[in-house]
C-alpha cells in the first residue's frame, strides 16, 4: 500500500499526516490559513468523488472540494 497519497485517495476512517501542499500560491495560502499545513494530523471522515471531502483535525471538521483535496499530499498512518 502506498504511503504517500493524495487526500482524494484516502478512504473514510483512514489517518494520516499532511506532508505537502501542491498547487498555486492561492490554494496553498488558503489551506495554510485553515490550519492545514505539513505536520497536521488528519482523519478522513468523508471521501469519494465528487466531494466534498471531510477531514477531522482534532475535534474540528473541514470540508474540501475535489480540486483542493487533490493538492494535499498525505502520509498514511497504518
Amino acid at each position: 500500500m502506498l504511503m504517500y497519497v493524495r487526500l482524494t485517495q484516502m478512504r473514510e476512517g483512514e489517518r494520516g499526516i499532511v506532508v505537502d501542499i501542491h498547487g498555486g500560491h492561492r490554494a496553498r495560502q488558503r489551506l495554510l490559513g485553515m490550519g492545514i499545513a505539513p505536520g497536521t494530523k488528519i482523519v478522513v471522515v468523508k471521501s469519494g468523488r465528487p466531494g466534498p471531502y471531510i477531514i477531522a483535525i482534532g475535534n474540528t471538521r473541514i470540508a474540501l472540494g475535489q480540486g483542493v483535496a487533490e493538492k494535499i499530499i498525505v502520509r498514511r498512518e497504518l
Binding site: 488558503r30 490559513g33 485553515m34 499545513a37 475535534n59 474540528t60
Partner: protein, 681 residues
C-alpha cells in the same frame, strides 16, 4: 532582542482611559461566547474602519473597574491573505491592546497553538490563554497538565467552558491583573531548523538599527519576509531600499531551492513540529478522534441529493417564520404611520409644510421603519443558521451548483436572503472571505426578487393573468434568477476578473443556538441598517414628495414627476410602457411596491384596489403588464439596496450595480415585449 512593541505604542490619551482587552482566536473556538460572558451582552456592533468586517466592542467589569473588550475577527493565522487576518494582525501590532486573550480550543489544541505561536512571535508579551471547550476535550479523553502548560508556554492558561460559564471569573481576574501589570510573562518562541534560523539572524541584522526596530519585533519581520508576506515586504522596502531588499530576496530564493518548496510551507511545518514537541510535555493523554453524531448527520446533509432536500426544508421553515411574523408587523407599522400622518396633518395649516412633513418625512420614516421587522427577522434567521452550524453545510451543498456560475457555495446564502429583502442579504455578503466573490455576489443580489417586488408581481399577475397567476409569477421569478446566475458568469468573466477561490470550509459542530444572543446581535445589526439605509430612504421620499407636488399636484399632468415620465416615455415605449409606467418606475426606486401605488395616485383613486385593477386593465395589455412586472423586478435596485451596496462595497460598485441592472432591464424589457408582439400576445 525581543522588544515588546505593544506597550510603547499606546497613545497617551488611551493610557488614561480604559484598558483594552483584545480577543483573538481561530473561528469557532467560542470567541463570541467568551466575549458575551466577559461583557454580559453590554456590547456594540460596528465595522472596522474602511472595511466591512464586523467589529464588536463591549465593557467588561471586574471589581468596579471597567475594561474595553474588542473582539478580533476569528483567524487561523496572521498572514496578510485576508481582510480578517490583516485586521487582527494590525490590531495586535498597533499595540493598542493592553492584554491579548488568545482563546484556544482544547479539543483541537495543535491547530490552535499555531495562532498562539504567531502572536508570541510578534513579540506580544501580555497574553492570557483561555483553554476553552475544556468539557469537550475531557469528554474525548484529552488530559492536560495546566500548570506545566503555563510554564512551558510562559503565559497564564485558564481552562474554560464558556458555554456553561465555567472559568470565566478566573479569566476575568487574570485579565484584570495582567492589564494592571501585576503578572509577568515569558512567552515561548518557536525555534526553526538551522538554515532557517541562520537566515532569520541574517535578515534581523540588516533590520537592526533601522526605525523598524522601534516599531516591530525584528524576528517577526524576518520570519514574515521569509514567507514572502507582501505587506511586510512593502514595509521593509520603505526602510531598507531596493538594494538590500534584493539581497534578502536572493537569500530567500536560495533557501527555497534548498528546501525545494516555498518557505511558507516549510516554516508552517516546522512550527507545527515545534508545537508538537511542546504539547508532548504538557498533554498527559491525547485522546482519540472519534466519529461523532455530527459526522453522521453531515454524511446526509452534505450529500449531493439528500443535502439539497434538507436545504429546501430548512429554508422553507425559515421563510415561513420570517413572513408569518414579519408581514403583520410590517402592515401594522405602515398603518400606524399612516394614521399618525393624518393625525399630524390636522395640526398644520400651511399646505406645503404639511405635505413635506406628512408625506415626505413621516412617510419616509414610516417606510424605513416598516422595513425594520423584516430585516430584523431575517437577521435573526441568519444568526440562528450561523450559530446552529447549518450555514456551513448549506454552503457545502450548494458549492457544486454555484461553482458552475463562478460563485462559491457560500454566496447562496445572500441570494436566498434576498427573497426576503436585499438589504440584509447584501450585508450578509460579508461572510465571504474573498473580495472577488463578495463583490460578485453583491452585484447580482438585486436581481433576486425581494418581497416588495413580490407584491408588484402578484398584483399584476392577479389583475392580468387571473387564469395563469402562478405561471406568470413563476416565469418572472425564473427569468430573474436565470439572469442573476447568467450575470454572475458574465460579470465574473469580464468585469471582476480573478481566480476563483479554492473550496475549503470549516464545519462547526451542530449546536442549539441561543435566542438571547441571536436577538441582541440581530438588533445591533438592524440598527446599523437603519443608520445606513435610513437617511437615504428619507431623502428619497422627500424628493418624491417634491416631484409629485410641484409645480402642480400629480394627476394634473403638470407635476415634475409627470413631466419626467414624459421625458422617458419615448424610451420606455420601446418596451410598450407609457409615461405612467415611467413615473411609477421612477418612484419605485424608493421602494419597489411604489410602482403600483403610483398608478393609484396618477389615476387619483387612492387605495381602492378594484378600481385600480379595472383602470389598468383598460389601459394595458397582458403583455405590457408582464413587461412591467419584469422590468420592475430587474431595473435599478431600490434606494435602500443601493445604500447597502454602497456601504459594503463603496460608491463604485453601487454605481456599477445600478447601471448594470438598468441596462439589463431595458434590454430584457425591449426583447420580451417585441418577441411577445411577434408571437401575437
Amino acid at each position: 532582542m525581543v522588544s515588546c512593541c505593544s506597550v510603547e505604542k499606546v497613545p497617551e490619551e488611551k493610557k488614561e482611559s480604559l484598558k483594552v482587552i483584545a480577543l483573538a482566536g481561530n473561528p469557532n473556538v467560542g470567541k463570541t461566547t467568551i466575549f458575551n460572558a466577559l461583557t454580559g451582552l453590554r456590547q456594540h456592533v460596528g465595522n472596522w474602519p474602511g472595511v466591512t468586517v464586523e467589529k464588536k466592542e463591549g465593557i467588561m467589569k471586574y471589581r468596579e473597574k471597567e475594561f474595553l473588550v474588542v473582539d478580533l475577527p476569528g483567524t487561523y493565522s496572521l498572514t496578510a491573505n485576508s481582510i480578517d487576518e490583516l485586521i487582527a494582525r494590525n490590531f495586535i501590532l498597533s499595540g493598542n491592546a493592553d492584554v491579548v486573550v488568545d482563546i484556544v480550543d482544547a479539543s483541537c489544541l495543535m491547530r490552535n497553538l499555531f495562532l498562539t505561536m504567531e502572536i508570541f512571535e510578534m513579540g506580544v508579551k501580555k497574553v492570557v490563554i483561555a483553554l476553552n471547550k475544556i468539557d469537550i476535550a475531557r469528554k474525548r479523553g484529552v488530559r492536560f497538565d495546566v500548570k506545566k502548560m503555563e510554564k512551558i508556554l510562559g503565559v497564564p492558561v485558564i481552562p474554560t467552558n464558556a458555554k456553561e460559564g465555567a472559568g470565566v471569573e478566573e479569566l476575568k481576574r487574570v485579565i484584570a491583573n495582567m492589564a494592571e501589570g501585576k503578572i509577568t510573562t515569558n512567552p515561548v518562541i518557536p525555534v526553526y531548523e538551522e538554515p532557517i534560523e541562520r537566515e532569520i539572524e541574517h535578515i534581523s541584522s540588516l533590520l537592526r538599527g533601522t526605525p523598524l526596530e522601534e516599531m516591530y519585533n525584528i524576528r517577526w519581520l524576518a520570519i514574515k519576509l521569509l514567507t514572502r508576506d507582501q505587506e511586510v515586504i512593502k514595509l521593509v522596502l520603505n526602510y531598507l531600499g531596493p538594494g538590500k531588499m534584493d539581497e534578502i530576496l536572493k537569500h530567500i530564493s536560495e533557501l527555497e531551492v534548498h528546501y525545494k518548496r516555498s518557505l511558507d510551507i516549510v516554516i508552517a511545518n516546522q512550527k507545527y513540529e515545534f508545537i508538537d514537541k511542546l504539547m508532548h510535555q504538557f498533554v498527559i493523554h491525547f485522546g482519540e478522534v472519534k466519529e461523532t453524531f455530527s459526522d453522521q448527520i453531515d454524511r446526509v446533509l452534505t450529500h449531493p441529493a439528500y443535502g439539497i432536500l434538507g436545504l429546501l426544508g430548512v429554508f422553507y421553515v425559515l421563510f415561513k417564520f420570517v413572513f408569518t411574523i414579519g408581514t403583520p408587523m410590517q402592515e401594522f407599522l405602515d398603518n400606524t404611520f399612516a394614521s399618525f400622518g393624518e393625525f399630524v396633518a390636522g395640526f398644520i395649516g400651511n399646505e406645503a409644510v404639511r405635505g413635506l412633513i406628512v408625506e415626505g418625512v413621516i412617510g419616509g420614516v414610516g417606510s424605513v421603519l416598516s422595513f425594520f421587522p423584516l430585516v430584523f427577522l431575517l437577521f435573526i434567521a441568519m444568526s440562528v443558521l450561523e450559530d446552529s452550524g447549518y450555514m456551513a453545510r448549506a454552503a457545502v451543498v450548494m458549492e457544486r451548483i454555484m461553482r458552475k456560475f463562478g460563485l462559491p457555495g457560500k454566496s447562496f446564502i445572500p441570494m436566498v436572503l434576498a427573497f426576503g429583502c436585499n438589504v440584509p442579504a447584501i450585508m450578509a455578503t460579508r461572510t465571504l472571505e474573498d473580495e472577488r466573490d463578495r463583490i460578485l455576489t453583491m452585484l447580482i443580489n438585486p436581481l433576486v426578487p425581494c418581497s416588495a417586488r413580490m407584491v408588484v408581481i402578484t398584483f399584476l399577475a392577479g389583475a392580468f393573468f387571473s387564469d395563469h397567476k402562478a405561471l406568470m409569477a413563476v416565469s418572472i421569478y425564473a427569468i430573474s434568477l436565470f439572469l442573476a446566475l447568467l450575470s454572475a458568469l458574465i460579470l465574473g468573466k469580464f468585469v471582476i476578473k480573478g481566480e476563483e477561490s479554492p473550496f475549503v470550509i470549516e464545519l462547526p459542530e451542530y449546536s442549539l443556538p441561543s435566542w438571547k444572543v441571536a436577538v441582541v446581535h440581530s438588533w445591533e445589526r438592524s440598527k446599523e441598517f437603519l443608520r445606513k439605509a435610513g437617511t437615504i430612504i428619507l431623502l428619497g421620499s422627500v424628493a418624491i414628495w417634491y416631484l409629485s407636488n410641484y409645480p402642480e399636484p400629480i394627476g394634473s399632468g403638470l407635476s415634475y414627476a409627470e413631466k419626467l415620465g414624459k421625458v422617458f416615455e419615448p424610451f420606455t415605449m420601446l418596451m410598450g410602457l407609457d409615461w405612467k409606467a415611467a413615473v411609477s418606475l421612477i418612484f419605485g426606486i424608493i421602494a419597489k411596491e411604489n410602482v403600483i401605488a403610483t398608478y393609484g395616485i396618477i389615476y387619483g383613486i387612492g387605495e381602492s384596489e378594484e378600481a385600480l385593477i379595472s383602470l389598468m386593465q383598460s389601459a394595458m395589455t397582458g403583455l405590457q403588464a408582464f413587461v412591467l412586472a419584469l422590468v420592475t423586478t430587474l431595473y435599478i435596485p431600490c434606494i435602500a439596496t443601493i445604500g447597502a451596496i454602497r456601504a459594503e462595497g463603496g460608491n463604485k460598485w453601487a454605481l456599477v450595480a445600478s447601471a448594470y441592472n438598468l441596462m439589463l432591464a431595458s434590454a430584457v424589457g425591449v426583447l420580451v415585449y417585441n418577441i411577445g408582439l411577434l408571437l401575437g400576445f
